[in-house]
Each structure stands twice: as C-alpha cells, then as structure tokens.
C-alpha cells in the first residue's frame, strides 16, 4: 500500500458526497468526521481519531453511500484504493463476498437507521 497523503478539512467542509466514485479510504488523525445520510442528512456515524471511513473504495466499482463532513478542523490520512483492491483481489472469493455483504448490511442499517439492541443468546 503506498500513496499515503494527509488531508486537512475545515469545520463544516465536505470531504466527499454520497454518489461519488469511492477511490480512497481515510483514517482520522485529528478532529472528527460526521457521516451523513444523503436523503435525510441525518447523522449516521461520528468518526474520530484512529478510526477509518470510506470503506467502499475497497471495491473496484464502489461508490460513496454517505456524505462526509468535518465536525471541526480535521486531519485525515488518505489511502489510495488501488493498493487495497490489489490486496483484496489476492484473497479468496469468500472474503470478497464478505466485504461486499458487510458493506451492504452497513448500508441497510444506515438506511433503516437501525440501532440493534443486543439480544440475549438463546
């Protein structure tokens, strides 16, 4: 994986919009990012230092399903999707399906605004 770049986003600025081609993954170094539902603009998740977002870039034809906005002045490391996609391509088909299905489930939960309540194991 190469091509790490630092990006600075000012409070209130958008880093990317839902519907854009996803070709980079981000890791928050400083500040915080809010992921927003593109239809309702409701917050989906707050991403803070050490956490990543933009996972759609791992798929060769991934597109953004959420909009990312800086909640404060924020610094992120930007990782090109090409390297991640090469890594994924070297894995088994089950792993590729796992990533696709996890991202689809995440999207489903975001769409329905699901907040699962833990169930006691039967």
């Amino acid at each position: 994986m190469s091509g790490f770049t630092k990006v600075q986003i000012k409070e209130g600025e958008m880093l990317f919009w839902a519907g854009e081609v996803a070709n980079k993954l981000y890791i928050v170094q400083k500040g915080a990012i809010q992921l927003l539902d593109p239809r309702s603009s409701q917050p989906l998740a707050k991403v803070v230092k050490g956490e990543s977002f933009g996972e759609q870039c791992i798929l060769s034809d991934g597109i953004r399903s959420a909009t990312a906005m800086a909640l404060e002045d924020t610094e992120c490391i930007e990782i090109g999707g090409d390297g991640l996609r090469q890594l994924l391509a070297a894995q088994s088909p089950l792993i590729t399906s796992l990533f696709q299905a996890l991202l689809l489930q995440l999207h489903m939960h975001n769409t329905l605004l699901l907040k699962p309540k833990p169930a006691a194991a039967a």
Binding site: D61, L87, L88, I95, F99, L106, M108, T111, A122
Partner: protein
C-alpha cells in the same frame, strides 16, 4: 419501485407501515437481463445508474462461490437471540423483521445476521418470510477463519464495518 431505495424510516411499532429496505431490482434487471454487455447495460453500470447498494447486491447475486437457500412463506429465517451459523443475503422475496420495539420490512438486498455472526453475537432481529425468499448464504465460521488470516489493513476495514453496523462501542473480543 421508483426510487433507488424504497425506504420509510419513520416507522416503528406504533405505525402501520413498517420501514422498508430493498435494492432497486427493476433497475438491476435492465443491466443483467438479456445481454449484460449491451450498450444500455454498460452505460448504466459505468454511468452510476446503480446506487452503492444496487452494485453490491449485483455482485453478490452473481457470486459463484456462495450457496443458495430457499425459505417458504411463514418460515423463520432468523430468530432474535439465536446464534448465527449462516448469514443470508436476500436475492428475492419479502420478509418482516422485528425486535422488541420495531418492525421492518425487508426485500431483496437485505443482509441478515452477517455483522452479528462475525462478532459472535446472536441475531438482533427475528426475520420471517412473507413470500418465497431466495438467498445466498455465507458460512460464518468459515468467514471468521479466513478473516483471521487476512492482512491487518483489510481486517481493520472489516472490523470497522462490523462495529459501525452494530453500533458497538467496543471492538468485539473475537475481532481484536
């Protein structure tokens, strides 16, 4: 279905119309029925005529490695609190889903139990087929085994998706 995702997020147990999730199957059919390499199909796929979830569904449905399952109307696909052995990706059909407070309606593109299973947590929702439902399934134990062998970067992305999907505050022990 006119919109990319047919969704009503306002519903809960106090309303008569439950929130609904489904990919846009009609649009996807335009891409892969007939000739998937036709100019229209290629144009739609390349031109982002498909939403993020439509594309993921399209890829999963075409998978040559995942097994198939069929559920009859009235059959339970998942029971809240039960351990997840096989996560289901819904290819066709309709379902209801419920926990202690909410009711939802699921359609094609819904994913049942994957994040929970990967985190060694039980099903969050009871899901019942209301029509004949076809799925592709992921054996959770196999997926967990392969995840542990993965490069740390990819494993981290997977972990993030699981934690965010389930709204967890901490990383589950088995994914650390």
């Amino acid at each position: 279905m006119d919109t990319e995702t047919d969704t009503d997020t306002s519903a809960n147990s106090n309303t008569s119309i439950p929130a609904h999730f489904s990919v846009n199957v009609d649009k996807i059919k335009l891409v892969d029925v007939g000739n998937p390499l036709s100019p229209d199909a290629v144009s739609m796929y390349d031109g982002h005529g498909l939403s993020a979830q439509d594309r993921l569904y399209f890829c999963l449905r075409q998978s040559t490695t995942l097994g198939h399952c069929v559920f009859n109307p009235g059959e339970k696909i998942a029971v809240r609190g039960d351990r997840v052995h096989f996560a289901q990706i819904v290819i066709s059909g309709d379902m209801t889903a419920s926990d202690e407070e909410n009711n939802f309606s699921y359609g094609p593109g819904s994913v049942i139990g994957l994040a929970e299973g990967m985190a060694n947590l039980p099903y969050s929702f009871t899901v019942t087929a209301t029509t004949t439902v076809t799925t592709r399934f992921i054996p959770v134990h196999d997926a967990q085994q392969e995840l542990m062998q993965l490069n740390a970067g990819l494993r981290g992305i997977c972990r993030t998706a699981i934690v965010r999907t389930l709204g967890l505050k901490e990383i589950p022990e088995n994914l650390k």
